[in-house]
Symmetry: C2
Subunit: 331 residues, 2 copies
Amino acid sequence: MSQLRRDPVTGRWIIVNISNSKTPEQYDLKPQVKKGGTCPFCPGSEKMTPPEIEAVRNKNTKPNTPGWSVRVVSNKFPALTIEGELDNHGIGIYDMSNGIGAHEVIVETTDHYKDLADLSIDEIKDVISKYRSRMSDLEKDPRFKYMLIFKNHGAPAGASLEHTHTQMVALPIVPKRVSEELKGASNYFGYRERCVFCDMIEQETHDKLRVVSENKDFISFCPFVPRFAFETWILPKRHDQNFHSISDEEIKEMAEVLKDTLVRLKKLLKDPPYNFIIHTAPVSDGANDHYHWHLEIMPKLTNVAGFEWGSGFYINQTSPESAAKYLKEVK
Amino acid sequence: MSQLRRDPVTGRWIIVNISNSKTPEQYDLKPQVKKGGTCPFCPGSEKMTPPEIEAVRNKNTKPNTPGWSVRVVSNKFPALTIEGELDNHGIGIYDMSNGIGAHEVIVETTDHYKDLADLSIDEIKDVISKYRSRMSDLEKDPRFKYMLIFKNHGAPAGASLEHTHTQMVALPIVPKRVSEELKGASNYFGYRERCVFCDMIEQETHDKLRVVSENKDFISFCPFVPRFAFETWILPKRHDQNFHSISDEEIKEMAEVLKDTLVRLKKLLKDPPYNFIIHTAPVSDGANDHYHWHLEIMPKLTNVAGFEWGSGFYINQTSPESAAKYLKEVK
């Protein structure tokens, strides 16, 4: 069972496993992506996962059998569980809540040896469509305040299974990083009456120094203030705060820019570990002019050290201007 | 040359290498602590480092020669450099500054094969005394707003040299994490007229569930809201916002609790990678009742993944109650 706990100083939340805490021996100090054995995400292993929630599958095939090309299931080891009611309480100076939420896995392909960058644009389109439909579905549960879609690729980026997949967590609280971003965007808007992300698109298109890839509806660039070397963001050109209001046509355009960007990163950095995260507005926020959903890709080429943990400052040895130049040159 | 850049949305700063950016090939995807060869921190290699700033050394020995037991030098590859004046400027919507600051290294012992946990209490006392004297000295430079003392132990925690050492960075800006902590502590004080850290000490002493080590002046415990498994904090019992006002007697008491805590972590988790960070008030803050300096030790047993990067939420598989129990049982 997990519990949500809130730090009384910084307001930071954690999800802590209280009923089944890991012992010192259970930490493998050289974490590896599990290889070999039977993969629960491969066709034929459908019974190894919790029941299918959604899938892109051939007509005349049944759920939880082969015949799918993208498959969504609950996480077998969820950080948060869907049963129960939220229950906030305190012990002395400390605040906590029970760990209500949803934790799903989007298996992106049947092919154990491909990763997202290797899929066709049509296949990536199907994956992004599933992100949208799962998000729209979970939004209906009034207990959930925020939906986080993220991908861990490679062990240093936290992946524990090799078969390519994305995760989605529905949270009963709007997380701190998201609130900070919303507040920052709102402050910027209050001052200039313009969306900071729309302004970024304009400046990046004008400067051209940091742009990596672009089509009609999307642009990818190395942001001016990247925490990590070769960090790259993908922004929709149309201002919208919600990822899930993306249209079918925009999904195709996004798949194109996402594939092009991931292929460039993969070739240039020899299949680097990376995380990507979709930044979108909280569920209950009405339409607004200041927030703009986007996707951030963060390669993990170095280890985060005490300086970063202590300050929130990041040291980046490769400028985004230089990173974008290398990425654009990839054939 | 490095540049400070400020994210227009979140206010997060980065230090970016702009004149000598690392190329894709320069990232070693399996970072290792450098072993073998000549160690620049071993006695006899004093000429391999920038000149000595301070040292604990035998009488009749000269700076930059053997005869020392603790030695402070400038970092040979500093994140920030001490020359020049601060120069804030903007490009379009972006803010930046030149990379002014200081970056020093405290070599904790002459013995290449010992780490901080292996030193005697008297030796650790000398190390902490150097933290204090360097911090007091750098405070005199009006360009510096914050001094961060941190230690990276093991490659997964960002260490690049094996010989045990601590780093200190003087920053021209109060970093975001520090401001957040100060603000949170001030809010708590505003509401209850008590220091949140003093309250924590009282609650931990009362609950006893999470205490690891304690003596007259210091207490170490697994905090109620740990980001990382086996995270342990050391707090002085006397309320003070500034680390550098620690007395000689308190330094001895701190050395005792620090050694005891590090030895327990080392034995229990088989010499885990870890970071520790001294959290102290910014230079210019006058005395206050709400902030309380302390040291946070964060073992790095797992990799930080997309969920954490996207949310600022941390998932911890070991409860602090369980971690403290294991740590207390170490013989």
